[in-house]
Structure formats: structure tokens, C-alpha cells
Symmetry: C2
Subunit: 187 residues, 2 copies
């Protein structure tokens, strides 16, 4: 049986998310895996009030993850220094289920450097000594994102792949995704 | 036996995180619970290289969560329209462990409205029709944050409490936290 990989990421917010999912599923198939995209769930949310429609999608995604053997998460920074929170929720969820968690990000700078840049601060030799305007300290462990994300991937047996891509391909370039597929044992 | 509550949140980035944890633990005790703060883990990270120190904290936090009966997460927006990603990871993790997930946020506006504001866009009657500069659509379900967070809390049996606080108390005001404690069944 092919391993089922849950394809987590903000790819669902792309202009044509179904096509984006199809591209990832075809690439997964080339490496002997079955890709499972969040939009694969059979859902009938027509006519549901908005909050209930959102809950139905959440429930469907959680159930899809429970049918998978591992997860590849697109952890490219999304509207801030960190990954999309919906994806991060799924990374934590998959980790607690005991699934191997693989991640990729289409950036190569550290979490500290991205956070400093987002705050408009100059580079620092010790980012841990710096606070934001709310007095909240910066995390500095030379990791790719918040330590719970990097740590969860590490202890699950997965890897966190970092690649550099042109800015106009930030959410569409699949080089990091394919690198995960190359490294994941097929059985 | 008192229920053990994992106290997730960016409170660990406050100038005096130990004191912040102590305040929450004392408040939890007043309502008959045992509060468990991320910094409670016995850790010896002195001398460890930075990435390994980060991994050790991640491992300790995951293990602490496995000893708890439920979680209260501070989901106040952190350096962007969404909650702190470390906290969101823990919400997903706790949800997959089957724990009730309670959340609070010291803001009352919707995720869509915060995202529009962060992008510098005017209010929209249909935020779902809007894209960011990367062409990524906005999520719009009249929820408090990404649907995975609101949905996970909802299906776990918890509640997501929203309060409005003065801006200088954004990460210290515990009114929403205490409201969770009031509503959580003590047995």
C-alpha cells in the first residue's frame, strides 16, 4: 500500500487551490506516494452559516490527517515571520498522532532574522537580548521557525528543508516539497 | 486529584516569564486546578549549542503536555494577525492527544478584520474575495483566528474567550484567562 501523505500548507489560499493540490499529488505519485490534499474531503458546506462552514472544514481536515501516514507541511513564512498558523496547527496535530512530520520553507534565513526584519530592527549579534514594542523577547535558537515547529519535526524523524526561490514563486515553487519526497523512505 | 492545565502562550516571552507563570498558576489554584507552565520543566541547557537547546525545550514542553488533562492557550495575536505559532502548535498537539482545548484572546475583532488591517486594506464586505500581494486569498468564516484553531477548540469541548483590554496590557491581562478557569468543570 502506498503511504498517504497529508499535504499541509497555505497552498489552499492560492488563486486555484485545486490545481495546486493536483500538482503536489502528481509529484507525490511520481515518488510512489499518495498525496492527500485538504480540499479532498467530501464536504457540503453550501448554505451553512460561515462559522459552521469553517468548523466543518476543520473537522474534515483533522479526519483526513488521521487517515495519513505522514505529513509534508509548507512552512514558508505567511503574512509575518512565521508559517501559516493553520499549517502549524496541523504540524502539532500530526506530531501528537505520532506521524513523521516533514516540512519545507521557500526561505533560507533564520526565524530570528525574519522577526528582526518584520519589526524593522537592524540585524543583532544577540537577538535574544531584544524585545518588540510590547516588551516581548525574541526567540533565538538559530532555528528556522519557532522551536516547537523545528523540534516537533526533528523528534518525529522528519526533516525541515530550506530552499531559496524567486519572490514571485514564494507559494508555488515545489523544489523544497520535491526534496522532501526524495528523502522520505517509500516503505 | 486536581486537573492539570497546561498554560500555553507567548507569556514565556514576557520580561519576567517566571513571575507571569506564577501569577497564572496562583489563579488556577484559586479555581481548584494545578497550572503547568512551560518553564516548569527541569532542563539543563547550559552549554548546549543553540539549536539543541531549542530542541530540548520543545521536547520538554511536549512531555509536559502529555502529563496534563487540558490546555488553556493564550491566543492573543502575536506579531501579526494570528496567534503565536508556538502556542498554535501546542493547541494542535493537545487536540490530537484528545485534551479539551480552551483559548482566550485579548482582542475582539475577527481574523478577517485583523488580516485586512495588517495588510493595510480597508474593511471589506466580502473579505473572501480579497487577495494579499502574493495573490493568496483571505480566509473569511467570521471566526477569531484560522479555522483550524477555532475548530479544534470547538470540537475538543473547549471554548474560545474573547475580551478587550488596554493595549499596554495586551500580553499581561488575565481577565480572559480567568474566564476560562470559571467555565472549566473542576471534575
Amino acid at each position: 500500500m502506498k503511504k498517504r501523505i497529508y499535504l499541509a500548507g497555505p497552498d489552499v489560499f492560492l488563486p486555484n487551490p485545486a490545481a495546486a493540490g493536483e500538482r503536489k499529488k502528481q509529484l507525490a505519485a511520481q515518488y510512489g506516494f499518495e498525496g492527500v490534499f485538504p480540499l479532498d474531503a467530501t464536504l457540503n458546506i453550501q448554505g451553512l452559516p460561515l462559522p459552521q462552514a469553517g468548523f466543518a472544514i476543520s473537522d474534515a481536515n483533522e479526519n483526513l490527517m488521521r487517515t495519513c501516514h505522514l505529513i509534508i507541511a509548507n512552512l514558508t513564512p505567511f503574512r509575518g515571520p512565521s508559517a501559516d498558523v493553520g499549517t502549524v496547527y496541523e504540524v502539532g496535530f500530526a506530531r501528537a498522532l505520532g506521524l513523521p512530520v516533514w516540512g519545507y520553507t521557500n526561505t533560507t534565513d533564520t526565524f530570528s532574522d525574519r522577526t528582526l526584519a518584520a519589526l524593522g530592527y537592524p540585524p543583532q549579534t544577540d537577538p535574544a537580548s531584544v524585545s518588540d514594542p510590547h516588551g516581548m523577547h525574541l526567540e533565538h535558537f538559530e532555528l528556522t521557525d519557532n522551536l516547537m515547529i523545528d523540534g516537533g519535526i526533528h523528534f518525529s524523524g522528519g526533516q525541515f528543508i530550506k530552499v531559496s526561490v524567486p519572490d514571485n514563486e514564494l507559494f508555488t515553487n515545489l523544489q523544497g516539497f520535491e526534496e522532501c519526497l526524495k528523502r522520505i523512505p517509500s516503505s
